[in-house]
Structure formats: structure tokens, C-alpha cells
Symmetry: C2
Subunit: 194 residues, 2 copies
Amino acid sequence: MITKIKLNRKQQIIEKATQLFQKQGYAATSMRDLAGFIGIEAASLYSHIKSKEEILQTICFQMAEDFFQSLDACELANEQADVKLKEAVVSHVEVLTRDTAASAVFVSEWRHLSEPYLSDFLSMRNQYENKFIQILIDGNKAGIFKALDAKFTVLALLSSVNWMPAWYKPNGKLSPREIAENVTDVFINGLKVR
Amino acid sequence: MITKIKLNRKQQIIEKATQLFQKQGYAATSMRDLAGFIGIEAASLYSHIKSKEEILQTICFQMAEDFFQSLDACELANEQADVKLKEAVVSHVEVLTRDTAASAVFVSEWRHLSEPYLSDFLSMRNQYENKFIQILIDGNKAGIFKALDAKFTVLALLSSVNWMPAWYKPNGKLSPREIAENVTDVFINGLKVR
DNA sequence: CCTACCGATCGGTAGG
DNA sequence: CCTACCGATCGGTAGG
């Protein structure tokens, strides 16, 4: 089963590359580094992947998909804006902590994507942020949230959790949901009209 | 005045390098890139600087110094914890927005420092964060702030403003102080015991 | 500040 | 998956 072996090897390459991209950055990670950690020659990597950037593309777009899927699975149609926002952030943090290395690459290394991938990526990120922005706007209209620049607030909110992949230890006391709730409660209580 | 010319040239090199490090990342910026933008040969850079990393060190440690100076200038001894925290964050944001390119490098590129600079840098950053942590702890003891993991909260708080250098436009409507107050008010209101 | 150049390393290909 | 190798580029130095 050559195909199966290759698939596993490809997964292994992407996983190790993800770790190295997180630790050293994409540009400072060489294909020889990567090959060395896997135990093959650099040239052999190219039996499994097309290019160095293809690995980065795989990581970034897979993460983007995960964020969208998790958010869409939230079933928030009938909730109040504050509950919606909280669940959306919890969903976001759960994805962030599911694979911390891939999340860190997603957050920090996307700018090394070349066109047209870079534009696609930024477009998806904008769409994602817009879902949060809409919740803030709706919540303000409903008299739940203060009148603040929605985009600005969402960027601050997402940034306040996006550092977590670099720090999160899966063996810590708090679950991702608990962590997310702690952060979000502070933020949302501050957003609320009192 | 050879010395004066050299000093200006050195400043120019560091300034342009700061812009390139922000846009492309430290590792993806070559000395030939940098020299090209300045209009000299790559080899000529080394009449003014010792190495590529020296530029990064200059940026990172100058910014660190600026953050400390600004915070120390706050004169917070006699204030309540919530005022202290607010002023400390305002100070932080004012430094962040004073030179957005240098701030972005400070926030994102420090990991490319080699030892012992890396350890020194992280030690300074820890000291800085500890000043914020202490404000949270004192505020909790005084019954002003909720009981939250202080370190965790400070990291979330600082992260929620550290993305700003990448976005801030000096010609925007809000001053750095106003921006900082907006962000901080949300956060601090959420932290407060109600 | 330049020319000339160094050894090292880069991502990637050819061919097996 | 390896050997052998490509052209390009890297940070940096010598010497003027």
C-alpha cells in the first residue's frame, strides 16, 4: 500500500513542519531542517509535497476551515447577542487550543503566503471577523452592547485570545471552554450596557 | 563632519530595516534588500552596523526601554488600582502608536534574537508584565477587581492592544490616548467587581 | 562607500 | 527515497 504509506508520511511532514514554523518562523525554517527531523534527505520531501509554501498553505487554509466549521456549528440563531458572542469566542478558543502549533502558524505566518493565496486568506479572515462584528452590531441595536467601533472591538477581542496557542498547556487545570469563558466574561461584561 | 554623516546614515539604515522587518519579517529581509532601498551596496551597510542582528537588537531594546520609561513616568503611587491599570495601558498604547513599525517588530520579531540577548529581552518583558500583574493583584486585594488569574489576564489585556501597531493610522480620528481608553474601559469594566 | 569575493546555505530538480 | 547537483542567494569580509 504505497499510497497509504505516502499519506502518513505526508501528514508527518506537515506536522513536523508546523512545529518548526511555530518555533522558528516559516522563513527561518529550511527544508533541510525539516528533512533532518524526519530522518530523510531534503530532496525526498518533494516526493510528498510540491513546495515549502504548499505546507504553509495547507496549514493556514485547514485552520481557516476549522474556524468556520466550529463557528457554524454553534447554532446561535435564537440566542441573545451576549450569549452569541460568548459562544462564538468559546468556539474560537476551542479551535485555537485543539492544535496549538497549527494555530500559532495560522496567527503569525500567513503573511508568507504568495498570491493569490494571500488574498484568499485575508478575504476568509475578513469574512470570519465580520461574523463577530455583526453580533456586536446586532447586540448594540438590541440595547445589550455599548456603542463602540465594532471592527476595532472585534480585533481587540480576537487578539486577546490569539496569543493563547503560544502558551496553552493541554495538561493545565482549565479546559479550553473554561479559559475562553474567563476571557470572554471579562470582555463581554465590559461591553454590556449596565 | 564624517561622524555626523555616519550617524544619520545609521539612523536611516535602522529606520528602513524596521519598515522591512515589519513588512516581510526579520528572516525574510535580506541585507541586499535593505541596501537597495537605501541606495548603496550591501557590503557598505557594514561600515555603519556590525551585523543584521545588531539592528534587531537595537530596535527591540530601544522599544523595551521606551515602554519602561513611559510606564515609570506615570506617577501612579497614590491612585486606585483601576486608575493605575488604565493609565498603565494608556502609556503602553501611546508607546505602541508612537512608532508603529518599531512596535510591530518589537512584538513579533524578538524571537530571532540570539543568546544572550533573547534571555535578556524575555527577562525585561517579564519585569514589565509583572508591573501590570501587581496592579491586578493589589486591585483584587482592595476589592476593586475580580479574582482572576492575574498573569493570564494581563497577557490577554496586553495582547488585545499589541495588534494595534499593524493597523494604527496616525491620521485617524482618535488619538492614541482615546484608543487606549476605549479598549481599556471595556476591559477594566469587565474586571471590576460590580 | 565600492569592487570583488568568501563559504554556506537556500528551495528545488533530474534521474534512478 | 537517495545521490548528485542546479542556480540563486545569504550574511559578511578584505582591501582599497
